[in-house]
Symmetry: C2
Subunit: 399 residues, 2 copies
């Protein structure tokens, strides 16, 4: 398969919006097309993630309408739903479509309104992203990740109160960077949290408090992908796709170890294998921090830290700028927001911004990272997806 | 890209079921895997169509759980939602995944429970598959196709009462063949309808009566795809994918002519172009006959009859066995049933059955067709997909 490049990215501000999923997507896609120097009729295929269109807006099969809305007209348009991993899966399938030569230019993105119904109803509908047995017996995502925190504490013999302090450092970091990011839901908020602010905020699912959790959000993001052969027609700084990975976990009752999720380990390894790289090669990372404990678990499963070591490493600044692996300098889900079906390509947006040195001061890694990676999770470790990006083609890095 | 073959197919009986979407899918997929002589761990990727899982069962991100249910475990699993075209899109993306060399063996399929809520609620939820402006102003699918019948009558100067008689021949044909198909929802029912039975059945949306409409259905279907290079390890009679096409139509307000739908014409031409074939080469056809008038329109848009000629041709038996293009000998949506997100791969199932000479007496085309085609439609001419299959590789037929 041929190399594929990203030549444009776009993203709406995250937070509460009165726009429809179509309007949100068009805003992000128009930004991405303008960034790439193309117009709608240049787009030959569209892949879009969305979860709640049917449930919240009575609007299910939106992909062909998004195509026409952005001027791509009869271009094939596919809607992917893989809970929070939806847009990562849209990206991976768009990559395959371009890499295999089906088309030269495609858009991958996601659009979501998660805030429409208010928290109690949203909690119920979010649970539809989990396995049916889980949601039917009242298991919610905060419950699952609270369980993970308990398990992490017990498995690695870290007293729970100590772990809560370690988790608070994830919250402090991601809220701090979200407060600096003008597109983040919590822009200019929560910029200077302290450990006790996190631990003493409202209890959601013990030991997770409100500030351990990401918010519900509205928003959209989009990425223009094109054959690497023609990328320099559109931009002097194409970003290349070095590797992708995807893998499935079954329901929690089928998983052996929630804090070493088999699907995440499998998916990340696939992406590294395709790229010919290892975790040590990654200079910037966006991971699915739906809860503070989630970021700790994913850093280990992707191979950045040994099992049981990421909590301590976070507290010691290893996931901050200047540390071993700067993670979620966009604010992540916790600080930037989490419009479910859009998050995957918003992570790509954040990586591209970093790699081109365009992140805001305080969030930008210097020098701009050469190689970056995204990690995304849908359901209870059920739908995993990873993307590795580079400023040069694969052939330069491959060992 | 390399050639891709179908090495196994499976399908549940259509109709009312008490099984979950997971159980339905597993039944179809297990049949397909047994047909192919493979087991779950051989499946390297899964692509599945589903529309109403979240709305009807509170179960949204089902793909990874389907993977584990059939023993494919960590295999990447993607859920596609393109209204009624969902499973065709799952098939097309699975084809691309195999053709491009990402994996050697993948399953494409669909699973749906449409009958859960009863007709009034189902009518409202089905409308979510249309453009939001349409459903919000009360437009339903029967309404759209009733409009098409009116437009067809006026455009081609066929008196409406005459057109109703012509449309009745679609109903008679598809119910007749559905009545012979043991997996059809209307097996052993409606086998000997007369024109007046159709015209005098309950009025749904003038001029469409109950027997002009397909039913709501539960069911699942699955297809095992593999690289053509290794297909003969699994079967002596692989069926090859010769061409695929997909295209988007916008909302009805963006479409110039509902009875010459731009997306269908575009998608069918793409499939013919990839296959290097023309409509005259197709010996068997499964089309999206959600309503009788729908079958007439699609036969013209795919190029089997000139504009305005398919209604008369149907009455004259040209879409029956022995006619120009035998269409929907499985019963189609009208006689076999329509489990929305599953229909696309059920059409493939019907084509493969025909091509291998395995359809029941009365439905089987003789000699078995060498080349067959499916047409699928999601929304109001919004999501179109076409698949062309052959008993030999593309290189044999390509001109």
């Amino acid at each position: 398969m041929r190399d594929v490049a990203i030549i444009g990215v776009g993203m709406t501000k995250f937070g509460k919006s009165d726009k429809s999923v179509v309007e949100l997507f068009a805003e992000a896609a128009n930004q991405a097309m303008e960034d790439a120097g193309i117009v709608g009729k240049d787009v030959e295929a569209l892949f879009v993630g969305n979860c709640f269109g049917g449930f919240y807006e009575g609007f299910m099969n939106m992909a062909p309408h998004l195509a026409w809305e952005i001027g791509a007209k009869t271009a094939p348009a596919f809607r992917l739903e893989g809970a929070c991993a939806s847009a990562t899966y849209a990206f991976i399938l768009a990559w395959n479509w371009v890499a295999s030569g089906m088309v030269d230019i495609a858009i991958a993105g996601g659009t979501e309104r998660s805030m429409l119904p208010g928290t109690p109803y949203a909690t119920r509908t979010f649970a539809m992203g989990a396995e049916k047995f889980e949601s039917d017996c009242g298991m919610t995502f905060p419950g699952v990740f609270a369980t993970c925190a308990m398990l992490y504490s017990k498995t690695y013999d870290i007293p729970l109160e100590k772990l809560r302090e370690m988790m608070a450092y994830v919250s402090i970091k991601n809220h701090k960077h979200g407060a600096l990011n003008p597109k983040a839901q919590f822009y200019k908020k929560y910029g200077e949290l302290k450990v006790e602010d996190v631990i003493n905020s409202r209890m959601i699912a013990y030991p997770l408090t409100l500030l351990d959790c990401c918010p519900f959000s509205d928003g959209a993001s989009a990425v223009v992908l094109c054959s690497a052969d023609i990328a320099r027609r559109f931009t002097d700084e194409p970003i290349y796709v070095l590797g992708v990975g995807a893998a499935s976990g079954g329901g929690l009752h089928r998983q052996e170890d929630y804090i070493k999720p088999i699907a995440r380990v499998t998916s990340a390894r696939k992406a590294f294998k395709m790229a010919g790289l290892s975790p040590d090669d990654i200079q910037y990372f966006e991971g699915h921090d739906c809860f503070t404990i989630a970021e700790i678990i994913l850093l280990e499963a992707c191979g950045f830290f040994e099992w049981g070591k990421a909590a301590k490493a976070t507290m010691e600044g290893e996931t901050e700028i200047g540390g071993k692996i700067p993670t979620n300098m966009s604010g992540g889900l916790i600080g930037k927001g989490h419009p479910v079906g859009c998050t995957g390509t918003a992570q790509v947006y954040a990586c591209v911004e970093q790699m081109l040195g365009k992140a805001v001061k305080g969030n930008q890694v210097t020098p701009p990272p050469e190689i970056a990676m995204t990690d995304n999770l849908g359901g209870d470790f059920a739908s995993l997806g990873h993307i590795i990006l580079g400023r040069s083609k694969r052939s330069k890095y491959r060992r």
